[in-house]
């Protein structure tokens, strides 16, 4: 301590004597100007840079009081240790992330020599003051996002006397509801420490129903440590009401995750529902058709690296066409020789799945490829501190339902759909009235495969793309079709969503792996009751 003091004293002494010796009068004048207490912005900034640590706190407060937009920038820079001072040119500079300096007063880039810039030191207590000062500054900002983040920061750090006063003042004039409620909570948290019991009870009441983690932890603490029993009891009941709300939102979250998993299952099973349900063909290469769709997305993204948002839109029809074409080739080349022999079809298509997998491994290497998310699909929608919904899952849910509706329309409203249903119900009769059954078979299989390709596009937005991508979903998709009932798309929808939700609700209790095992066991038991699924096909088509 003593040595620092001495060395600092010596430094000042030497600088002073040097100045005297050189006899540069204008530099003297400048020091004079700094030592006086200036009130304009540039003067205050200079004083901030040259004054002692203890003076700095005062200067910062004055700077903040100026209501100049630039003060926020400077205080932020000071707090993060990015404020520099060049004692030769008397310039204050702000260092940005890339190491470039900009002038603190004009905010223009510094092009001259920057080697003399020295960091303006701050200590911990100053840093704390700076932080609360910054939040106060931001609280009165015009921008709502800045105000909100300032309140959030105060919530996390806790209020001191000054900020409490400011918040109280600001919350009266605040119009934005979210910000206002956050302010109320921050204030209530501060009031929990008040000596007056009544104020404490009032604060607890205000925290009731708040989902902020800080509010919950403060209430938990109050409910056990507060000296007044009345406060403790209120806190306990408030906590209980919060827990109920949290449980409710957790429940909604599980439902959402379940639906999200369900939508993935729906997308992967719906193509299968067509080939398996409508045509009675077991296609074990279905997962690999999804893989083809996912790789198509990746390839298109490689072709248009700068247009990620559009490349996804191009990828959907392309994946449909590519996977559909592969499907038609499979149908014409293998499956049509095996109609009426489902077990053989199963084996042959499994062989095809092995070939396709190995082909993907040879072409794209066994490494997983990451498909980047377009901007509008990344991030999440924050509903409250407990519940947030990621956009990619939300869009895939919507997309899954869209595909489902589209497919229903194709099957119910188009001439192709009519023919498909006719052939699946009674092949001989359909041919007798002039339907080209073999042509319908190929198109139906192509349609189912194309939808698998689309499912692959959706999957590529959730996981990495690799040769084993489809395999993981194959058994699950079969489960969905078996659960929902063969030959009924509504069954597939209900089956997929049902299995997704059951899975997600079991997960917290049993863990992800065991949940899956339990679902499989439940399904086996379910088939005892309803061997043909939830929505069995009725009438002649059911008898095979």
């Amino acid at each position: 301590m003593m040595t620092i003091f001495i060395s600092r004293f010596l430094k000042h002494f030497i600088v002073a004597s040097l100045l005297i010796c050189t006899g540069v009068t204008n530099s003297f004048a400048q020091t004079e100007e700094v030592s006086a207490t200036p009130t304009d912005f540039s003067g205050l900034v200079l004083q901030l840079a040259t004054g002692s640590l203890s003076e700095r706190a005062e200067t910062v407060k004055k700077l903040a009081a100026l209501k100049d937009n630039r003060s926020t920038v400077i205080i932020t820079a000071l707090e993060q240790g990015n404020l520099y001072f060049d004692s030769i040119t008397n310039k204050v500079g702000i260092k940005d992330e890339s190491g470039n300096f900009s002038d603190a007063i004009t905010l223009s880039a510094v092009s001259s020599d920057i080697s003399n810039f020295k960091k303006i030191p701050v200590n911990n207590s100053l840093r704390n003051q700076l932080r609360s000062l910054l939040s106060q500054l931001n609280l009165s900002s015009e921008d709502e996002a800045i105000r909100l983040s300032a309140v959030k920061r105060l919530l996390a750090d806790g209020l001191d006397e000054d900020s409490a006063v400011i918040i109280e003042k600001q919350s009266a004039s605040e119009k934005n509801k979210t910000i206002k409620s956050a302010m109320t909570i921050a204030l209530a948290l501060y009031q929990l420490k008040n000596t007056d019991e009544k104020i404490r009870i009032k604060a607890v009441d205000q925290l009731r129903g708040s989902l902020e983690p800080e509010a919950r932890s403060a209430l938990t603490e109050t409910s056990t440590t507060d000296e007044s029993e009345a406060v403790r009891n209120t806190a306990i009941s408030a906590l209980k009401s919060i827990e109920n709300t949290v449980t409710y939102y957790r429940f909604s979250e599980s439902i959402f995750f379940g639906l999200s998993l369900g939508s993935v299952l729906l997308l992967s099973a719906i193509g299968l529902a067509i080939t398996f349900g409508v045509m009675g063909v077991i296609n074990m290469a279905h997962g690999e058709l999804m893989m083809i769709g996912a790789y198509t997305t990746w390839v298109i993204q490689q072709i248009f690296p700068n247009q990620i948002a559009y490349s996804l839109l191009i990828a959907i029809p392309t994946a449909f066409l590519v996977a559909g074409a592969v499907g038609v080739v499979i149908e014409r080349g293998v499956i049509r020789f095996l109609y009426g022999r489902p077990l053989e079809t199963l084996l042959a298509t499994f062989g095809l799945s092995l070939i396709l997998q190995q082909a993907a491994r040879s072409i794209f290497t066994p490494l997983n490829r990451a498909v980047s998310l377009p901007e509008w699909m990344s991030g999440s929608m924050v509903i409250n501190p407990v519940l947030s919904i990621t956009y990619n899952r939300l869009y895939i849910l919507i997309f899954g339902i869209l595909v489902f509706v589209l497919l229903q329309l194709i099957l119910k409203k188009t001439s192709l759909g009519l023919k498909v249903r006719a052939v699946s119900q009674n092949r001989t009769m359909a041919r007798a009235v002039g339907v080209r059954a073999s042509w319908v078979d190929a198109l139906t299989f192509g349609l189912g495969s194309g939808i698998a390709g689309i499912a692959g596009v959706a999957l590529s937005q959730l996981t990495n793309v690799g040769p084993n991508l489809g395999q993981a979903y194959l058994i699950d998709s079969f489960m969905v079709v078996v659960f929902g009932g063969v030959g009924n798309l509504w069954g597939t929808l209900v089956g997929a969503m049902g299995l997704g939700i059951i899975n997600k609700f079991l997960e917290p209790y049993a863990g992800a792996v065991l949940a899956k095992v339990l679902v499989l066991v439940l399904l086996i038991l379910f088939i005892q009751k309803k061997p043909k699924g939830m929505f069995p096909q009725k009438g002649r088509a059911a008898a095979d």
Binding site: L346, L347, G351, V513, L514, K516
Partner: protein
Amino acid sequence: MLIKRLLLNDRGGAIVLALIALMMIIVPISNLVLPTSSPLHLSTFTVTLLGKFLCYALLALSVDLIWGYCGILSLGQGAFFSLGGYAMGMYLMRQIGARGQYGNPELPDFMVFLNWDHLPWYWLGFDSFGFALLMVVLVPGLLAFVFGWLTFRSRVTGVYFSIITQALTYALMLAFFRNEMGFGGNNGLTDFKDIIGHPISADSTRIALFLCSGAALMIAYIVCRYIVTSRFGRIVISIRDAESRTRFCGYKVESYKLWIFVFSSVLAGIAGALYVPQVGIINPGEFSPLNSIELVVWVATGGRGTLFGAIVGAFTVNYGKTLFTSYSPETWLFALGALFVIVTLVLPKGLVGLFGRVKKSESAHEAIDNENLATPEIGAAKIAEEK
């Protein structure tokens, strides 16, 4: 009479059995008696490989019994194989005793690693070889019984049954991957030291295991042959060709299916138990659905519904796999995939059928029979047409 019924009318089976017997004589002599320098000497590695193939053949036999004769395509046969393997593995783990990494006389290494302080109840008794053998038979048999009872009773047939069995083995794989299950998790059971007092890596033990596998395969073949030629077997075949009709004739189709399924899974369990000491490891990967479906292709390649075809198929495909994986591993999956397609499209009767095509069948009756065997659905349709 019995011998005639079992073997004389089954020339292919007799040839295959003779070949296995010949192998069981030549291999031990070549490995133990001939000096290492002799060109006819078989390394212990080859002996183990052949022993492995014998286990696979036994497994394929169990698949052919239910698929070829009862029309039940199980894609979960590997689960019973693995369960038998795990039962044997647990016995072998207990034999390690204090020789493990951690030197704990009571607990296997992975349990010490998980900080468990005592053996879970389901490990009790596995220090006795007799108990382990009992479990090798009981565990797969019991699972097959419960599972079969549930599924056959609710008349889950055809592809539905295939998918459910695939889900079964998938579920078991996921479960066995969990460390908390107490079966070694991902790594499975390994690092075995000895079996009934003999060091497991010794040449003589290897030969003994090889001979056991061969003997088990031959006995299993004869028993299977006995079953399919018995009255029970005839009903099973009629279930394959016309399930509803058999039911209307007053037979309890479910019970027939259930018993043949249980017997087949016990065979698979025994194959697994013989397999584990030879390869020295059992892990959850054995449960993977791919393994189960691959072994169906062995049977299809050899020729289903012939029993000996399964053995031929298991040897051929696995020999091919060994060759491929040592020369160019990438192409193996292409070859296997192509095999699936070719066998189903071009060779519905498998390799055995290929011989049959060259050498005309002896009687017209048998020809029809074979045709029905190859494609049961069409066979059933033919019967319906004849009506």
